[in-house]
Symmetry: none
């Protein structure tokens, strides 16, 4: 009965998200109009407002969806590779994220563009601490198991993620300051330097 209607709604929602993702990735968000989004989605303009308050409401939903996808995919691969050493594990996980981003520069571009709005950080917070996938907690547990010590592990994680996220963009997108495959070792090295600080004496 109702299921047909619900299916339909879900499909429209996905069409909107998909179209917006594509457009947001290829242009500055403020240059993407709602008209563009609905045209691309093949949906009437009024319908947009049944699903989102405005462009930025949609953007928030997209950020959640896309960043969760990246982290979960990376974490899945990490789990499949029974890595025991703490530093190696973190590096491996970050590397997985970087590989995903490198191969999917659409996501990278989109996430980077989103930074401009200060909206990413606050949404990212939620993603990282989601009930079903709490990266912060996992990080803490691994530290404990490994005998490392950080005065404030959350802060350390924040700094690392910020550094990686910020530095990889221009390398992947513009080959600056180096092409990414040359740049990555330096970046992962920097991560390792920070982690190593917490190594057990």
């Amino acid at each position: 009965m109702k299921s047909k209607v619900l299916e339909n709604k879900k499909r429209k929602l996905d069409q909107l998200l998909d179209s917006a993702f594509e457009l947001f990735s290829s242009q500055d968000i403020q240059n993407v109009s709602i008209s563009d989004i609905v045209k691309q989605a093949g949906i009437a303009k009024g319908t947009f407002y049944l699903y989102f308050k405005d462009k930025y409401d949609l953007q928030k939903a997209l950020i959640k969806r896309e960043s969760r996808r990246v982290f979960e995919e990376a974490y899945q691969i990490y789990l499949e590779n029974d890595i025991r050493d703490f530093e190696d594990g973190v590096i491996f996980l970050i590397n997985q994220v970087l590989i995903i981003l490198e191969n999917n520069s659409i996501i990278l571009r989109f996430i980077h563009k989103s930074l401009s709005w200060g909206v990413f950080d606050s949404e990212l917070k939620d993603v990282l601490r989601d009930d079903s996938f709490n990266l912060v907690e996992l990080f803490k547990q691994d530290i404990e198991k490994s005998g490392y010590h950080f005065d404030n592990p959350e802060i350390t994680l924040f700094i690392i993620l910020d550094m990686v996220g910020s530095a990889c963009y221009s390398s992947i997108m513009d080959d600056y300051p180096l092409p990414f495959n040359e740049f990555k070792p330096y970046l992962l090295n920097a991560v390792r330097s920070i982690l190593h600080e917490g190594a057990p004496k």
Copy 2:
């Protein structure tokens, strides 16, 4: 004769830059119209186009002016404090920049907002390598003098600046993940970890 005309031009230019800076700092750049800028500057709308191609042309000029000011001010203080140790020197310099930004969150906000346009990085490049003030070169020289070694000092500097710039913003502006005075030690510590990697054995 001519000088009066030139002075006049320079004054108008500065009025435009100052007004734009004020406006760009307090709101999203795409919400600042050229009308707003010229109104604030007390200049006619048509005149704007005698000095800049469009809003983003002006923004580029602003970024150059403002970031150069910050670096030069910090470097001046650094010079006045005859610091000999390499790590201490870099930390001191970065700290000076952070102090300036903390006390002048207008500049911080403006620089951060500019990131959104991807325009900052490319302009920053120029600033860091300006003939009259080449920070990259200075960094290399200090490394040499100190006996440290980095496979690629430029990359290291890039990573550090990116990390610091990216991480300090949300802390200064939103007290996230910690208020800045609590956060700064962690951040400088991370910098030191990276630098220490290059210490002579």
Copy 3:
């Protein structure tokens, strides 16, 4: 069986009328959307069209319902006060209407708003000459009984009602040109001047 269905319909109809009345009274009618009305009534949007052709169809029904209520209530009180003198009687009746409107500025506002549509007058015509309550006829009969004479009693009644209705609004709502309790004597006096013209010599 059937009665339950009919009850249901009547209830929905009343819900729509009540909600619309409330909304029409508090804002300009053209700013009230059908969405607003059905939301307030707790009824689905499509259902609206089962009862009314559009917003203005509903408005007409409302005008009839509300103005009839006012006149009937005033007339009831008039009947209970066995007033013999003709002029006194008309003044008394008008005063009752004014008292009702003064105490129920919602109705006043609604009726006034409706004037804007030119739709009120034509509906009012019907109300005043309704089979079950024919005010025009009553007025004529009273004139006859009292020995007064007007060349055209209907016209006189029309002018009086128009004057009273038009003048009382700004006084009740905006205290202009005077607060209503101060203004009313002047208004009733003007009515009496007009009536007195028809007094028997």
Copy 4:
């Protein structure tokens, strides 16, 4: 130099007012879009906003212009007809206004439509008390000269104008309750009844 620009501006303003007047007179104001107005005026849409804040801002300007025209024209004719008697004078003046309105039902319709917005009364207040043409003051002076007495002449004037304005509309436009030429005697009679109340004993 400047005069050409100023002329141009004045012309645009008048084009807008004239077009709006025409449209407002033939349809409900809320059904007239700004698009309609500028199209009729042969002016770009953006230009509208250089002259008026919105449609209702323009409407206010129109009301002032049009009602002042009517009163001034009627008053001019009144002056040319050296009428000595007070009652006759007022009746004559009102009659002139009615003649103008009857012959120019566009203005009548427009003024009536404006009533719906409650905007007319407040603007009318200004027009009647304008420095260069203060009808209220003229009315008071005439009363004094003639030896009549009203407790509150302003209120009496208000009631008369309201009554006339309100009653004449449906008669002129819809021949209800009578065609205007038949209705007018009754209306002027009602006015005279009210005025006569203040006659010296």
